[in-house]
Symmetry: C2
Subunit: 216 residues, 2 copies
């Protein structure tokens, strides 16, 4: 259907290819509004192209969405997996790395968490398959074993290690999930919010290490 010769030249030359423009626009609108309240017309407008062209490149709204969602899930998980399964780092090093890398990624993709979690909420069965891949990621990671060992060591045998992982994710992700509400309640503008969240790159690892009684 699509012959790439022209588009390749586009990429090198003036700007990004049309396909990339559409994907970028779809990403923006889908993440902001969610699947159901996104209209393909809005995506076309955002991309600065014609509605007909959108259906010429991607056969349907559904296909376009699946691409955006797959990409989003990957973006959300790959970082965690990479750091948690890293073999040559200590637990506190992993905690430091995860907070910093995750917050940086989320500052670039603030709507990603609520988008992904919202769609899973509205349509769990449809996304079941794509989650299956990540099912054993946590319990089979080096981080999980290190966490378990640390909890044993400090006599907190009865604490489910998943509480700690969840705390890490909660404190990192929630500020972005609640961003619109938080900014309105605290009267933070975008710049203040960015600073506030950046402070958490240092603070979250500190709090998590305290939970684990790690003193460095």
């Amino acid at each position: 259907m699509h012959h790439l010769c022209a588009m390749e030249k586009m990429k090198m030359g003036k700007g990004i290819s049309t396909e990339e423009k559409i994907k970028k626009a779809a990403r923006k609108i889908f993440r902001q509004k969610g699947y159901a309240s996104t209209r393909t017309r809005d995506i076309a407008e955002e991309a600065g192209i014609n509605l007909a062209l959108l259906n010429y490149y991607f056969r349907s709204k559904e296909k376009l969405f699946e691409m955006v969602m797959a990409e989003g899930l990957n973006q959300l998980f790959s970082l965690v997996r990479a750091i948690m399964t890293e073999e040559n780092t200590t637990l506190p090093q992993k905690i430091d790395a995860l907070a910093a890398a995750y917050i940086d990624m989320l500052l670039e993709n603030p709507n990603l968490p609520i988008f992904v979690l919202g769609e899973i909420q509205a349509n769990p069965e449809k996304l079941e398959a794509k989650l299956g891949v990540n099912r054993k990621m946590i319990t089979e990671s080096g981080a999980f074993h290190q966490l378990h060992a640390q909890l044993q060591k400090t006599g907190m045998n009865d604490v489910n290690p998943f509480h700690i992982i969840l705390n890490m994710l909660s404190m990192t992700l929630f500020p972005f999930i609640g961003k619109p509400m938080i900014q309105r309640l605290t009267e933070m503008d975008d710049h203040a919010f960015r600073n506030f969240v950046n402070e958490r790159k240092i603070l979250i690892p500190m709090w998590i290490k305290n939970m684990l009684q790690i003193r460095e």
Copy 2:
């Protein structure tokens, strides 16, 4: 339009009134699917009544939604406000009370947080007005002053008190926001999830107090 004589009798007698059935159904579907992917037909079906009757009681989908959202926002905020502005409790007492009460409420209303935050995300300007009411709730609460004092006392002058409040909300709300994903990743069924979250009624206050160097 509605004469209450018949409905009042309904309430006393067999079951709940039709208006209440519709509200209950709307609450369930809207919270589960969000505004955009909810069809009024689904609400009518869930309520066990006719679609025409839904428009006879509430003039539109929009009106019905506004009611559900107003109720939801109130449910989400009133608890926090009540506990944070309580005059005769210490900071650690407020922390204990908030975790327990909030988790109990959320176990009864697991979809509430993602519903409210998702709708605010998709339509910030529409809900701006209803958030305004709660704007000064935090900074003018007794809890905020106690928190500020405690941070001064322990020499953490540079830590924005809002970090602590956000941590409290993050660790409490996020498990429910991520519930569908968490349950699939960890293979927890509903019963296991309930137990897991119940453990956090004790754990979260412990972690928060550690952050504040409160030893009891």
